[in-house]
């Protein structure tokens, strides 16, 4: 069986449409980010406490909120999550207390308040994540540094293996991928946590991988097909690698979709981020990174044809 046997799709021609689509996606994400005042950072970065508890018999969330408000935790967010656990259905309350330097005792105090305020129920502690403001700040810096570092490393790597212009095109595609993914998280009102930053870093590596395969082919073809125009070579290269690009993304997607749907609540958003990121990364390798090379080359040609000012 074969997909795309000797395909000959004019990707360079589709570039304008792709750019418009990408700009729309970026604009939607940026608009959401602007309206909501930036991404929704998790307590990993803001500091605060997230407590996950299962209470049996399960009370209404309103009762949980009321009891916590009575104990002086009026500003908490209470969300519910239900899923199949190892020993039957699990109904979790996810209680987050953000922003404040809540210190070490908030999780305990909230548990005590719930035990006292909901008589006749038993409370099972599922997890506590408590981050002090100081550590939150450090994690923020580390996350920003690592994303920045990975951009720089990718540019350098491609610049060494290819030429600088290829590196720049690849990184434009990367920024495109990361911006759209972060924008989507804002649109869906999902939190950016440490895990999500890890997923973004993975995507940066993965998306470059696709891009390199195409660039590698462009370079190879340039040696044999000099007489053709640059756009034709790029187009042929994308077509020749298309089967591989779609297949590998497809295989990786199978695994991330399984993780997303079956992996449980702890890594659901992480797997979602990978899944979406792989789709957008594959798209950008084909429609953004390589066409940028063409556009750059055309511009240079145009520049050369311009009459040079007399010295």
């Amino acid at each position: 069986m074969e997909l795309f046997r000797e395909s000959n799709i004019d990707f360079v021609k589709m570039m304008r449409g792709a750019v418009i689509m990408s700009l729309l996606m970026i604009a939607a994400g940026l608009a959401s980010l602007a309206i909501k005042g930036g991404p929704r950072w998790s307590v990993d970065f803001t500091g605060g406490t997230v407590l996950r508890v299962a209470i049996t018999p399960t009370p209404p969330a309103a009762d949980v909120r009321r009891v916590l408000a009575g104990a002086g935790y009026a500003g908490v967010q209470v969300q519910e999550s239900e899923y199949q656990g190892a020993a039957g259905r699990v109904h979790e309350f996810i209680i987050s207390l953000e922003g404040k330097d809540t210190g070490k005792d908030a999780a305990e105090a909230m548990q005590h308040a719930l035990t006292a305020g909901l008589p006749g129920t038993t409370l099972e502690l599922r997890s506590i994540d408590a981050v002090g403001a100081k550590v939150g700040g450090e994690l923020r810096t580390a996350a920003a540094n690592s994303v920045f570092a990975s951009f720089v490393v990718m540019i350098l790597y491609i610049a060494v293996r290819f030429v600088f212009r290829y590196g720049l095109a690849a990184v434009v595609a990367l920024i495109h991928d990361v911006t759209i993914t972060v924008g989507l998280f804002s649109l869906l009102d999902k939190e950016i946590s440490l895990q999500i930053v890890a997923a973004l870093l993975t995507l940066i590596g993965y998306s470059i991988n696709d891009t390199i395969v195409v660039f590698d082919r462009i370079r190879e073809n340039m040696r044999f097909r000099r007489r053709e125009g640059y756009a034709e070579v790029v187009n042929a290269s994308i077509n020749q690698t298309l089967s591989r690009t779609v297949l590998t993304s497809g295989f990786t997607l199978i695994t991330t979709v399984c993780l997303w749907l079956l992996g449980g609540p702890v890594i659901r958003d992480f797997a979602f981020c990978l899944t979406f990121g792989i789709v957008i990364g594959t798209y950008s390798s084909i429609f953004i990174a390589s066409p940028i090379l063409v556009w750059w080359a055309q511009r240079q040609v145009v520049d050369k044809r311009r009459p040079q000012p007399a010295m």
Partner: protein, 575 residues
């Protein structure tokens, strides 16, 4: 078979066999049933066998087995860098001591930077108790309680100091200054009534005055501190007269005592609260307040042993009995001999758990700490006293606790997702590439085997994101095979012979495979540097997976494909 092929076959076989051997304990460890593990509680021989197997098995992260991860910061303010380093080392030592005594298996305790300690406790049942045990300073001090006249004079000195402070802040602040007396006047009626007696502690209980009257306001203005300090002789936990702060005033008084004006307390004296709420026979509730010597007569450093036992005078509470070392015994003997009839406060981390009256000199170096402890509180306190006090206060800066239930669910869901994902990938690969798809599957299986063996051999931790990393590797490992197969197909289309196509395919694909995987590996290394805990687990499995997938593709897949292409009669490749 050519020499190169023999070498490739040998390397593959060796890698797979060694990996399988390394993984034997892991499979054994995972196959112990819950019943067997429960039986090990009673059977030391079985327990030892299980422990031996577990030690060589892949270690599961705290997110999979449940447990607690703490980042603690040592307060090193005012220390030289040598002292700070020493303090951190001693904190580490004492915390290790406490954790060992608490009986948690395989704790990880390590310092980070110059002022942090990371504590990882797997499989923990009671996180709150563990945190109390680890983070508590546990500084035990014996301090003499000062007589009531001195308390009165300290209270009036504080009143003067707070009046002066209020006057100083009222003038420049203007209108803002009036906010404080207004707030004070708004205190509940009961406190206002109590406060009247503070002026004349021996007066009978006055009738309840209306809250917020002008008289009250003037009184609070005149006694900004002592107005909140009451007296009673009816406390169940205290014989004779005692000073106390009512429940509703406690937070305010605590704040007052932390403000600069509280320096009016003479340097050789210190005001300390009781560690628990105390109640009178008539049901009034408050924190006892003691004036004690700033200099401790004796500290917990001189303790030789401590243990919990039932309180002789109570049916429900427990106490901690202790014995002192030789020097402590003589110090304690002298202290008690010289102060018979006075109260000696037993202070823990600056809060007083009890203040018994010294009846006779205690020369045996033994004593007990009572303070309405539950049996657990008493045994924890005894543990803390045995392990020693932390040399500096420690705050918990980050906590990640996973309950055993969530850990179990995560394993189950993670493994299910991984297996189903791998199954679909394999089915699809075989469907798409036929025989070479099977080759890719074999390479993929070897890849996972090698990856797991590396985790087991080097004691690396498998976390839930780590499991995701393995799954992701399965997807990515097939990438190399796809690159090879697509190249071979291209070559076959140029009507090359199978053998030539395989050779050319590998030749062309190798560089691309290395290139493409290197970037993902670079991302993995950045993650390794950035991540902690579970995320580090992801970076570890992904990075190892990338390296081993390149290996299996370039060595194992190549061996099998060349084997198939070797047959000169073969004109078609099942690809």
């Amino acid at each position: 078979m050519s020499r190169a092929q023999q070498i490739r076959a040998g390397i593959c076989a060796l890698a797979v066999i060694i990996s399988a051997i390394v993984l034997i304990p892991t499979f054994q460890s995972w196959s112990f049933s819950a019943a067997e593990r429960a039986a090990a509680e009673r059977d030391p021989a079985l327990a030892e066998r299980i422990a031996r197997v577990d030690a060589k098995a892949i270690r599961r992260g705290l997110d999979l087995q449940g447990g607690m991860y703490l980042v603690m910061e040592v307060d090193q303010e005012g220390m030289t860098s040598d002292q700070a380093l020493d303090a951190l080392k001693r904190v580490e030592e004492i915390v290790r001591n406490r954790v060992d005594q608490f009986g948690i298996s395989e704790p990880i305790i390590q310092t980070q930077g110059t002022n942090r300690l990371i504590v990882q406790l797997p499989g923990l049942q009671d996180p709150e108790r563990a945190k109390n045990l680890i983070g508590r300073t546990a500084r035990l001090e014996f301090r003499l309680v000062r007589p009531a006249e001195e308390m009165q004079s300290v209270l009036s000195r504080l009143d003067e100091a707070f009046k002066a402070a209020a006057g100083a802040s009222a003038e420049p602040a203007g209108a803002a200054g009036s906010a404080e007396p207004a707030g004070a006047a708004a205190t509940p009626g009961a406190a206002a009534a109590d406060s009247q007696r503070a002026a004349d502690p021996f007066a009978p209980l006055p009738p309840l005055a209306g809250a917020g009257s002008a008289e009250d306001e003037a009184f609070y203005k005149d006694h900004p501190f002592s107005a909140y300090v009451n007296e009673d002789s009816e406390f169940l936990q205290q014989h004779g007269w005692a000073y106390y702060v009512a429940e509703e005033d406690f937070a305010r008084v605590k704040k007052l005592l932390e403000s600069p004006a509280a320096r009016a307390v003479p340097v050789n004296l210190s005001l300390q609260f009781g560690d628990k709420w105390a109640t009178t026979r008539s049901g009034k509730k408050g924190r006892l307040l003691y004036l004690v010597n700033a200099q401790a007569g004796l500290t917990g450093d001189r303790l030789q042993s401590a243990r919990a036992e039932p309180d002789h005078e109570s049916t429900v509470y427990w106490q901690v009995s202790f014995s002192l070392d030789r020097r402590g015994t003589s110090m304690f003997g002298k202290l008690t001999r010289e102060n018979v009839g006075r109260q000696l406060a037993i202070s823990l981390d600056g809060q007083i758990s009890s203040a018994p009256v010294i009846q006779t000199a205690i020369t045996q170096g033994q004593g007990r700490i009572t303070g309405r402890f539950t049996s657990q509180e008493a045994s924890d306190l005894a543990l803390l006293l045995r392990a020693g006090a932390l040399p500096a206060t420690v705050t918990i800066e980050e906590e990640r606790t996973v309950g055993p239930g969530l850990g179990r669910d995560s394993i189950r869901q993670g493994v299910t997702a991984a297996l189903i994902g791998a199954l679909i990938v394999v089915l699809f690969a075989v469907f798409y590439y036929r025989l070479t798809g099977l080759v890719a599957t074999a390479a993929l299986a070897a890849n996972v085997l090698i990856l797991l063996a590396i985790l087991a051999q080097f004691g690396l931790v498998l976390t839930l994101p780590g499991l995701a990393g393995i799954v992701l590797t399965v997807g990515m490992a097939i990438d190399a095979n796809v690159l090879i197969n697509e190249r071979i197909r291209e070559e076959l289309r140029k009507s090359k012979t199978v053998r030539a196509a395989v050779d050319a395919g590998f030749h062309n694909a190798t560089r691309t495979i290395v290139d493409a995987n290197l970037t993902t590996l670079l991302a993995g290394i950045i993650l390794l540097w950035f991540g902690t805990g579970p995320i580090k687990g992801f970076a570890v499995t992904m990075s190892i997976g990338i390296v081993s997938s390149v290996f299996t593709a370039l060595v194992m897949t190549r061996f099998f494909l060349e084997l198939m292409a070797r047959n000169p009669q073969r004109t078609k490749l099942s690809i």
